[in-house]
């Protein structure tokens, strides 16, 4: 691997987005190239700081789901669940801008199958 090739892979390695084989090739190169080694260390440090910075950004506000639900699956008006762990029936009635969708699903041994959508 050349230094140019290594420099192309270093940001990906720092971002943890490099395949195992490419990662092994890069490490083999930096183990005998101090210039790329320094660049890799700097990139790893930058990657760590960027992940921490992005990770500290706030998440979506609490009420966002209700706005999305009102335009898609409907705000929950009624939910009925019947049955046991082996088999059950679930009925949901929602409210959207255009109506009140009713959905039902049947679950058997943990597998859920939609059976009703009005």
């Amino acid at each position: 691997m050349t230094c140019d090739q290594a420099r192309g892979l270093i940001p990906l390695y720092a971002a943890r987005a490099l395949s195992e084989s490419d990662g092994a090739g890069l490490i083999e190169h930096v183990s005998r190239c101090t210039v790329c080694q320094t660049e890799l260390v700097e990139a790893m440090q930058l990657g760590h700081e960027l992940r921490a910075t992005f990770g500290r950004l706030p998440g979506a506000p609490e009420g966002t789901w209700l706005s999305v639900a009102a335009r898609t699956v409907g705000m929950p008006l009624l939910q009925v669940d019947l049955g046991s762990e082996m088999a059950g029936l679930s009925l949901n009635v929602g409210a959207t801008r255009t109506g009140t969708p009713i959905t039902g699903s049947l679950s058997i041994l943990g597998r859920e199958v939609p059976v009703l959508r009005i």
């Binding site: 192309g8 930058l46 700081e49 960027l50 910075t53 706030p58 506000p61 966002t64 639900a69 898609t72």
Partner: protein, 168 residues
């Protein structure tokens, strides 16, 4: 259940699966939009529009990319639409950028935040998608709709700029 299986259930109209998918992606899409737009209200709009588009378009997902690539592609489209609307004066953001709280953030972190905020939007996207979402260049290229080489170039310039700012 992986993202693809969950999306397949959403395509069949399963509301619970959609809620689960929302829980997996809402915060990530919000942070992506916030990184691009630097405005919480616009970022929330992007989450709403993206998730509604996911509900309506789940059946059209072909599986040729990761689910996250598809969803971030939709979010990017919505974010740039918000930017265009803002430029046309249709929306007036209530806040300009995410200001760091000096009481809660250490100086270095504030510098990293500012350095990222000063990057051009396309470079900010690449940095977020690579370092936070761990997407490989090929997937980032799909999100941005550009050749992989362009993504590499954007990453090169972003990394160079960040290193310069953080070293100074």
């Amino acid at each position: 259940m992986d993202d693809g299986q969950l999306l397949a259930q959403v395509a069949r109209g399963d509301g619970r699966a959609f809620r689960d998918l929302y829980e997996r992606f809402a915060d990530r899409v919000f942070r992506f939009a916030l990184t691009l737009l630097r405005n919480r209200h616009l970022a929330e709009d992007v989450v709403q529009e993206t998730m509604v588009a996911v509900w309506k378009g789940a059946g059209s997902f072909t599986g040729r990319s990761r689910v996250s690539t598809w969803i971030f592609g939709i979010a990017r489209h919505q974010a740039y639409r918000a930017l265009r609307d803002e430029a046309k004066g249709e929306r007036i953001p209530e806040e300009r950028g995410e200001e760091a709280d000096p009481c809660r953030a250490v100086e270095r972190e504030v510098r990293v935040q500012r350095a990222v905020a000063e990057l051009p939007p396309e470079q900010r996207e690449v940095v977020f998608l690579a370092f936070y979402e761990h997407l490989p260049y090929a997937e980032i290229a799909r999100v941005q709709g550009v050749p992989e080489g362009t993504v590499k170039s954007r990453m090169f310039h972003a990394k160079k700029r960040l290193a310069e700012v953080l070293r100074s």
